[in-house]
């Protein structure tokens, strides 16, 4: 009986991991380029906007370029698996950075901006289901991931996240991400266009990420190399 129960549990978690992969594919194609806007809203209502161009391939490759504001323009980050580099035009060469380091300030950190597939970084450890939602508990595959545990609420209809709550390894709440405004970006890409983030570490602050464009596109592996980090803008042409 115990063996049967264990088999049923592992089978259901296997399908839960498949579900997580489906969530990933709905959020972003395997290889794509996208434009997104970040808005940091301070308690007094003042705002700062950032515009990002991103290129992603497979489960472990991503490069981002800041297009706005002028004070950040030309900054680029490259993620290749667990390796992450930052390029600043004045410095003129890429430097290795930590995933938890904040690139822009405010609630978002590098890992939120340079997010790879959830299924690349997390394994589903438990799954609950209601008539309209799945609730998945995700555990980080290793300690290089910024958040140790995620509780993800998935909309059954669109198979995209509605909410992701992020916890540290000591079970401390770090931030909550809310996904809103489901819309079609390209054939097969119907996903929330807006991600709102709040954190107890930034009381009164709020960050919004708005996707403007997501286009499936294939890129060579050489795009995700240090040689290319200063030339990311060329890919937009």
């Amino acid at each position: 009986m115990k063996i049967l129960l264990a088999l049923v549990t592992s089978a259901s978690l296997l399908s839960a991991n498949t579900l997580l992969e489906k969530v990933d594919r709905n959020l972003q194609p395997v290889s794509s380029e996208s434009y997104k806007k970040l808005v940091n809203i301070e308690p007094d209502g003042s705002k700062k906007e950032f515009l990002l161009y991103q290129v992603k391939k497979d489960k472990d490759k991503m490069v981002s370029l800041f297009l706005e504001p002028e004070s950040e323009k030309g900054r680029a980050t490259l993620r290749l698996g667990d390796n992450m580099w930052l390029y600043i035009p004045n410095v003129g060469k890429p430097i290795r950075i930590a995933s938890m380091q904040s690139v822009v300030g405010g609630v978002f950190n590098n890992s939120d901006i340079m997010r790879l597939d959830f299924s690349a970084e997390y394994t589903v450890t438990s799954q609950k289901e209601s008539s309209s939602e799945y609730s998945l508990t995700l555990k980080a595959k290793n300690d290089t991931v910024a958040y140790d545990k995620l509780i993800m609420t998935v909309d059954k209809k669109s198979i995209t996240p509605k909410k992701v709550v992020c916890y540290s390894s000591t079970n401390m709440l770090i931030k909550t991400l809310r996904y809103k405004d489901v819309k079609k970006f390209a054939t097969g890409i119907v996903r929330p266009a807006v991600v709102e983030t709040v954190s107890p570490f930034y009381k009164g602050y709020k960050s919004i990420m708005v996707y403007g464009k997501i286009t499936p596109k294939n890129f060579a592996n050489e795009v995700f190399t240090l040689d290319n980090i200063s030339k990311v803008g060329t890919l937009r042409r």
Binding site: P69, V91, Y202, Y211, K213
Partner: protein, 379 residues
């Protein structure tokens, strides 16, 4: 009524407007000519050191000195098919103690031609910025020396032709990049490198192997001794990076650097570097000199501690930096604050103190301490 009030309060408390959720598609249109840059103004209020030999030599009577530096930097890229023209031009006006000076410099001006996915060639004036060190780069054999007190500043390159082969792989070796460089010198071109007619050929092989950046460098010049170099950088943990550089002139000097970057749980970034140069000055050589070139001693140990968003002030940071001359144990200590405003204005205000025995590198500086304000507006 109460519900309406509650709704109004909720709306007011979030400060989110419909604009925040909209996306301006015009903002992502590409242009064939793109530019950026900054206007920077710096002011230093300096207290002079009457015990400095330079103070006596220059017959100074004041105890203070005012310095202002102003710079306009214009950076551009012009895209044309597989060609790019890349430039960085700088115009500066310096005023040191009432004496003005204009300087116009072409930092970079070169063409980039992408021959294919793996091959490209750059021709013109280019800054290479080799090495993994933050304050010092002994392996930057084809770069002008950088100022360790301002390691993030842009600086001038050399005229060269640079061929690059770049290839990605699956497995332990993820990336290989080979640079081949030809750099001529005459009494007019690249004369800072060698002030006579000469030819330099250099090779740099970069590998991303087992998640470690490594570079192997060889430099041949027909008039001077050959040089070789090696660099590495690796994240031992997500928040702990180590790096190093080694350079050697055949039958000549050798120089190396070992460094680390550590991010604490409280988001303090610690950058530490030890630098050694076999041809650097010893305490005995520094002591009798009236003035020595900055950072020309045999060994230094530099530590910087910076904390982002102190006291929950977003877009700000505070830092403390200690630059220690290990030969005579004199220091340059800096404590500073940076803030980036929402209108693309960034300020960096610091207090800097030279300490050490009267005959030491930092102890004999003509300036004993100074307040330094840098304001940079980006466009």
């Amino acid at each position: 009524m109460r519900r309406a009030l509650l709704l109004l309060m909720c709306l007011c408390s979030t400060y989110v407007s419909a604009d925040d959720y909209s996306f301006d598609m015009e903002s992502i249109e590409t242009k064939s000519f793109e530019y950026s840059g900054y206007l920077r103004s710096e002011y230093k209020y300096q207290n002079l050191n009457p015990d400095s030999p330079l103070y006596t030599l220059l017959n100074k009577s004041d105890n203070t000195q005012h310095t202002s530096l102003n710079e306009a930097l214009f950076r551009f890229t012009h895209y044309k098919d597989d060609f790019k023209l890349i430039g960085a031009l700088s115009a500066r006006y310096n005023n040191i103690d009432g004496v003005g000076e204009d300087i116009f410099t072409i930092y970079q001006l070169y063409t980039n031609h992408k021959l294919s996915l793996n091959h490209s060639i750059d021709v013109g004036k280019k800054t290479l910025k080799w090495g993994t060190g933050y304050f010092f780069n002994p392996a930057a054999l084809l770069d002008r020396p950088k100022d360790p007190t301002q390691p993030e500043n842009a600086y001038e390159g050399y005229v060269m032709a640079n061929y690059t082969y770049n290839k990605s792989f699956e497995g332990d070796l993820k990336n290989l990049k080979l640079d081949l460089i030809y750099m001529p010198t005459t009494s007019k071109i690249n004369d800072d490198f060698f002030n006579e007619r000469s030819s330099t050929l250099a090779m740099k092989l970069y590998l991303l192997y087992l998640d470690t950046d490594m570079e192997f460098i060889y430099l041949y010049n027909d008039r001077t001794k050959d040089k070789l170099g090696f660099t590495f950088s690796k994240n031992l943990l997500p928040h702990f990076e180590v790096h190093g550089e080694y350079a050697k002139e055949l039958d000549g000097y050798h120089s190396y650097l070992l460094g680390l970057k550590y991010v604490t749980e409280t988001d303090v970034t610690i950058t530490s570097e030890y630098y050694y140069n076999s041809e650097g000055l010893t305490e005995e050589q520094i002591s009798p000199a009236v003035k020595i070139d900055p950072f020309s001693a045999k060994s230094y140990f530099v530590n910087k501690f910076s904390k982002k968003e102190p006291f929950d002030i977003v877009y700000s940071s505070i830092y403390f930096r200690d630059m220690l001359n290990l030969e005579d144990h004199s220091h340059l200590d800096t404590v500073g604050f940076t803030y980036t405003f929402k209108n693309n204005l960034a300020i960096d205000f610091s207090y800097n103190l030279n300490t050490g025995k009267n005959e030491s590198e930092f102890g004999k500086k003509m300036v004993s301490d100074f307040a330094w304000l840098k304001a940079t507006w980006y466009y």
